[in-house]
Symmetry: C2
Subunit: 513 residues, 2 copies
């Protein structure tokens, strides 16, 4: 048993079942060790941003980490943007980053870099193995650390000689920690504050939008406390007549208008809301004047248990039955994100998973699918576009038998377009939707909001994706996916119905302009 064998066996003993990999020379022992560990499924990604985004999608759906296999500092940084998103989603991920042999590092060979420095900012735990035995022990620690709470990406740097040298033992099996509930006196104090408040609002963070968390939130709303969620939720259970709370509005002035008059903001598994970006003469903190923010559950505490305790303390009764499922009529005419959303609501099967990286087109679909069949919605938590395809890859690996929809702006999809190939390679049950508006649409909005003025020729060229137009059908086909282009609402409705009706990967280009 070499160090790589010991590391992989330890990961598998601790529940790791998927490896999203883009290996290089320093990872060759890890690669062949996978031959000897059938519990871990290797999934090749043709770019590291696909591997890390896939691990994020996997972790959100499986509730446990996948391992990524990355090639030194350069390979790690290629995957760093999606690890930034995963950090913001509190997704457990174990990165194994190969490095030069311990004795070779000091010679500064061309691929040498400060891996710990590069990986530190997006790792909630980071260690470097110096021997094969230490590597195995650290692998167990890495899995445990990835759970937090709150969870996040962790990084184990594995020098090549730690992988190829003999190991004497595997690492231990570690029981993952549980998120604790908040203290009873915190709940009691907040119950009193809610009773005293004129217009209380409860803001839910990402890990609390589960079945159980939403049920408790529904009780609280029925008892008179408005419930809203953070704008971007890593995984939200939706549809099927479930309680569907409002979202914090994305733009600060809209959020502040929406919250006008609130005098108490109860934070559950989140922190006080802030604007995604600053704008001249706009507020950064999205808490209205006279509104007091108080924390019921800190991140890493059990938000669902906290809300259940608060509901008890307030004597809240069971929530009334919510509206039943609502299916829109077949949309006709011009195609738009709204008609696409209507078709998705009509056709997506029960327990679908939606990976949303459609910056300006995602919200209409979100609104249209409120009453659709039960599903999970995975948002872009960190703002680094390019996760819609990779997260769908990981969700599909985590959830065989569930249909995955990947919603992407055309600009965002280009970042990690390599993931289409992995969908084809692994025959994943993903339908990729590309909203082709041939522009970075959001930036057209932001240009005026930031006071940057009207775009001239140079500025316009930096926002425009339409010259030449990307042909997504050819692109997808070149990477092994069947694909169609739709420019009417009816056309999309039929194409989506067909895609939902048969398993396997495909792509639909939605021509918006």
């Amino acid at each position: 048993m070499n160090g790589a064998d010991a590391v992989i066996a330890t990961l598998a003993d601790n529940g790791v079942e998927a490896c999203f990999a883009n290996p290089g020379t320093s990872e060759m022992q890890f690669v062949t060790a996978l031959d000897r560990e059938p519990r871990v499924r290797p999934v090749l990604c043709l770019f590291e941003g696909v591997a890390t985004g896939a691990a994020d999608g996997y972790g959100r759906m499986a509730g446990k980490p996948a391992v990524t296999l990355l090639h030194l500092g350069a390979g790690y940084t290629n995957g760093a943007a999606n690890l930034h998103n995963a950090r913001r989603a509190y997704t457990p991920i174990v990165n194994v980053i190969g490095d030069h042999a311990t004795y070779h590092r000091k010679f500064d060979a061309p691929l040498t870099s400060d891996i710990a420095g590069l990986a530190g900012p997006n790792s909630i735990w980071l260690k470097t193995a110096e021997t094969a035995d230490q590597a195995a022990d650290l692998a167990a620690q890495a899995v445990a650390a990835s759970y937090g709470p709150p969870g996040g990406p962790v990084s184990l740097i594995l020098p090549a000689d730690c992988a190829w040298s003999e190991a004497t033992h595997k690492g231990p099996t570690i029981t993952p920690p549980h998120a604790p509930p908040p203290a009873g006196e915190v709940v009691e104090a907040i119950a009193r504050a809610v009773k005293d408040a004129v217009k209380p609002v409860l803001l839910l963070g990402g890990s609390s939008c589960t079945e159980r968390g939403l049920a408790a939130a529904a009780r609280l709303q029925a008892a008179g406390t408005r419930i809203i969620t953070d704008t971007f939720i890593p995984r939200q259970r939706r549809g099927g007549a479930r309680f569907a709370p409002d979202k914090m509005m994305y733009f600060g002035e809209m959020a502040m208008a929406d919250l006008a008059g609130c005098d108490l903001m109860v934070l559950v598994d989140t922190v006080q809301p802030v604007a995604f970006f600053a704008y001249p003469n706009m507020p950064s903190v999205l808490v209205p004047e006279g509104c007091k923010p108080v924390t019921l559950a800190r991140r890493g505490e059990d938000g669902a248990a906290a809300m259940e305790a608060l509901a008890e303390a307030l004597g809240a009764k069971a929530a009334p039955a919510a509206a039943t499922q609502l299916f829109p009529d077949r949309p006709t005419g011009d195609i738009s994100p709204y008609t696409v959303g209507a078709s998705i609501a009509r056709h997506m099967p029960e327990d679908s998973v939606i990976s949303d990286d459609a910056v300006t087109s995602g919200l209409p679909v979100f609104m249209q699918t409120k009453g659709a069949r039960p599903h999970d919605w995975l948002s872009l938590t960190g703002g680094a576009i390019g996760q819609g395809i990779p997260v769908a890859v990981g969700a599909a690996v985590a959830c065989p038998g569930r249909k995955v929809l990947s919603l992407n702006g055309d600009g965002a999809a280009m970042y990690t377009v390599q993931g289409l190939w992995t969908m084809a390679r692994e025959d994943l049950d993903v339908t990729v939707v590309i909203f082709a508006n041939h522009t970075y649409r959001i930036l057209g909005v932001e240009l005026s909001r930031t006071g940057a003025g009207a775009p001239g020729k140079a500025a316009a060229s930096l926002l425009d994706l339409g010259d030449p137009r990307i042909d997504w059908v050819k692109l997808a086909s070149g990477l092994g996916l069947s694909a169609v282009r739709c420019d009417t609402a009816e056309g999309f409705d039929a194409a989506l119905a067909a895609a939902m009706g048969e398993p396997g990967p495909s792509l639909i280009e939605v021509v918006l302009a």
Copy 2:
């Protein structure tokens, strides 16, 4: 004049003429400021790794920095791998990394990250502006710092309010520093050592493989000192009967055999050679026992001047005329990297530029083009694959009127495939060659060298790109390039001749398996 105007005007005053950009909200002022600065050409890249690689290619060919425009930490890391390569190539690059407004940073909005931490390892200079006026001054310092010597990527973090606030002045114009020659006594001491040596060898680093450096090196070789270059040279002048030194061999055991018996290694603009990777029971340092390494010119010193001085000190005469140009016959039959190299040697016009990111296929082309028409060869200096397409983009922007060839392994090309679109958008005169062997070929070699054993099913799946096969003609066509597939030597020879005969971008897929 806002801060963004002041920054761009300062960059332009200091000679910056190209901006490779992938902007976001925090960069909107910089984007519209480009409308007001006609001296800087904006080039949109659909992924940051394209932007940074293009800046590398631009800097190598123009001898001065381009500016990249990147969106916070996530955008920066997307471009970090090619900045790693650029750091190893000593290429001047100025990264402008947008950040949240200064007062907004502390609120930890979703896109907030430790930009300085992420960018530090691959920046030879890094500063954060805190006011608009400071931003302009730092822009001038950034350009100056990027020249080194030795040069490299520098990073200026530009908070959004520093861009949108009023600036009172532009930054200064700074004269770039020159690489100094080594001290006379160093040259004299090394001349004595060379005279005393039985088998001296002189190892050339990247910045010395210029016209002038190679001419001096040729004199030294004629006087009895063997000349070899580092394995990977950022920019090497070649062809047209020029002196064509050998390279350090890539694999350590071959390099050591090649250097057997050498008792003196004179380092010019480089350091003692080390193996690209460590392998069990193989040496890390590639200097034979009994061979003494001595430094004639440190990195950042003028290697060409150093060699001229050494030639004088040794009384070396002018080098004899080298062989004349040699054009291979038209290749026929099975296509291979050798036949492709022969066709390139036959057809590439004078002053072509070759961007080489073909890990296992590049060397045969390099060998075949030794006696071709004069050209520049740009190598992968840092080992992070995925620069062949972006570097070609930048070289073409830097050198209008010169034909650019981009040589790529299929695995490498997938990393930054988005660059094909920029070639189409900008109508760049680039011919992209994809060596489609449908595998990470180098890893098949490395698997046995690292002692990782024969691949089983899992390991083989992580090295194989052939299931499904990527259709490069469709892929390129989807991104706006005309493309053809060649599976015979004759077919490629004809396709390349056609591509060399007309300007504009195109792609040729070479089917190797």
